[in-house]
């Protein structure tokens, strides 16, 4: 019992200037969800593989005369399996409960949060909104990861509610593994960039595409305060929140700008490093090649692009693993997830203009304060892409 992993408590979550103030029970609600998600991933999920191996696969094989050979076939037999059903149902419910918990916390104090954001944002040139930017079809089709209002809905003028809701619940979904400011991904990128600097790669201008609340780019700005950074997103409320959040953390070298990454107005070669962090899978088959083409155009010679994602479903990935990794496509409102992971991103980058021999990959795990937060790098449970450990696609121009 004594060495059981316990997620950190919600009161460890960092309180920046626009973070919602949680009551006792609101913190308890997130504590429950963090432990519930941890239990679902560590205790319930392993049984799904057992159910497949011991009964669902053999039933399929008996009925069809051959083993499932695609993830769609695995899905067809697993959806009838009672154990898979209860695991899926609980997982979906925790997602929905997390949204309700975040929204009730945020909305009861929304005028206060909006006022704090406004005070931090007012007159600051580092926040550049453009109401002519339209919501792309890949965001308006469904609310991404069951987040009501997605990243772009405004309840009124200068509203930041969807940003605050997104930020306050990251802790619960990852059971604290993203660290104090849910920025373990950005911290890991900052460590990578420090190493790159020692190898002679020192970007002067960095572009972060699809920045949402800025949690993945702020650690880089903090580690490289003299570097000029542009972070773009199509959603005004998340950008307002991101800028206020960054400013309250004393970060002033990021310009948060409302823009669509499919077509940007920066000159060719404007950036030395372009980053997308868990973003490409939230786009579409039409948008993704355009975005990759823009990253190529915007990079200076010798510049690098990093796409932080999960590994693609190749022929070398077992069909059961593909099926498990694909859960979010159908059950957590991530409709492009499956299609994107079927793509060969290296081929896509080649079409965008990058050369094969200048492409590589990189494993990255959330970097957190390990005295309090559990490090994903040390967690060897197979949870099919839930924990904050990523596959990074890298290309140099």
């Amino acid at each position: 019992m004594s060495d059981r992993q316990v997620p950190p408590a919600y009161n460890e979550v960092g309180q920046h200037g626009v973070f919602p103030q949680a009551s006792h029970d609101e913190r308890a609600r997130f504590n429950f969800l963090a432990n519930m998600n941890s239990h679902l991933g560590g205790q319930v999920l392993p049984g799904v593989a057992t159910a497949y191996e011991t009964r669902a696969k053999s039933r399929y094989t008996r009925e069809r005369g051959q083993e499932p050979s695609t993830r769609q076939q695995v899905r067809s037999c697993m959806e009838a399996d009672g154990y898979y059903q209860i695991w899926s149902s609980m997982r979906r419910n925790t997602m929905e409960m997390r949204q309700q918990a975040g929204r009730s916390l945020v909305l009861r104090q929304i005028n206060d949060i909006n006022a704090r954001a406004k005070q931090l944002n007012s007159g600051d040139e580092n926040l550049q909104l453009d109401d002519s930017v339209e919501v792309p079809h890949y965001l308006s089709a469904v609310d991404i990861h069951c987040m009501p209002g997605c990243y772009y809905t405004e309840l009124g003028p200068e509203d930041v509610s969807v940003g605050a809701n997104y930020d306050c619940g990251l802790f619960a979904t990852t059971a604290g593994m993203l660290g104090r400011y849910s920025d373990g991904g950005g911290q890991a990128l900052a460590v990578w960039l420090k190493e790159q600097q020692e190898l002679g790669f020192s970007p002067k201008r960095i572009l972060d595409i699809g920045c949402t609340v800025g949690h993945n780019i702020v650690p880089i700005a903090q580690a490289f305060p003299d570097t000029e950074i542009v972070a773009i997103d199509v959603g005004a409320p998340v950008l307002r929140y991101a800028h206020a959040r960054a400013k309250s953390l004393d970060v002033s070298n990021i310009t948060f700008r409302q823009a669509n990454a499919e077509s940007l107005d920066y000159e060719d070669g404007s950036f030395d490093l372009v980053i997308t962090c868990m973003f490409l899978h939230e786009t579409s088959a039409r948008a993704l090649p355009r975005i990759l083409a823009e990253t190529h155009r915007l990079l200076s010679d010798g510049g690098k692009v990093l796409h932080v994602e999960q590994p693609q479903y190749g022929d070398d990935m077992p069909v059961f693993e593909q099926f498990m990794r694909d859960w979010d496509t159908y059950n957590n409102n991530e409709p492009f997830w499956g299609a994107m992971h079927d793509m060969d991103l290296y081929e896509q980058m080649e079409t965008a203009g990058f050369e094969r021999d200048k492409m590589s990959s990189l494993g990255l795990a959330a970097v957190v304060d390990e005295t309090v937060f559990p490090p994903a790098a040390n967690d060897d449970t197979e949870d099919y892409g839930r924990k904050p450990a990523w596959h990074v696609y890298v290309a140099e121009k």
Binding site: H24, R92, N93, T94, S104, L107, L155
Partner: protein
């Protein structure tokens, strides 16, 4: 979204009903995991109750710890508490009342079975209504 959200023109602030707005449905059809829609619904309610019970337990734990830190009681007093016989009976009754409330639906199903055994199949309210309308 309109119904629960508005602008208060006097102070230019949002007027939001957080109870109604917090649980808004995300755009996109909800998947069905179980064979029956009813099971989806019950599971949703059950998970929410499970979550809220966890919240209540954490609150009780906080209360005990605060009382302990103020010297009002020691947590060990709760662990070591031994009810006398009268208290034990009262607490037993509380447990029984709680169980009866939670399992009312099962108890009433049993009553219906007993009724049917004695009086034959129960008439539907449609049948009773028709009967009273004609007599």
């Amino acid at each position: 979204m309109e119904s629960n959200v508005g602008m208060d023109r006097a102070d230019n602030e949002l007027s939001v009903d957080p109870i109604a707005e917090a649980g808004r449905k995300a755009k996109g059809k909800r998947p069905q995991f179980f064979e029956l829609e009813e099971s989806e619904r019950l599971m949703g309610i059950l998970m929410a109750v499970v979550g809220e019970l966890a919240v209540a337990r954490e609150r009780i734990d906080t209360l005990e710890r605060v009382l302990d830190s103020k010297g009002v009681l020691e947590q060990s007093e709760i662990e070591d508490f031994k009810p006398d016989r009268d208290q034990a009976r009262q607490r037993g009754l509380l447990q029984q009342e709680y169980i009866a409330r939670v399992l009312r639906v099962v108890q009433q199903e049993r009553e219906a079975l007993e009724e049917a055994r004695k009086q034959g199949p129960a008439k539907t309210l449609e049948e009773v209504s028709q009967h009273l309308g004609n007599s």
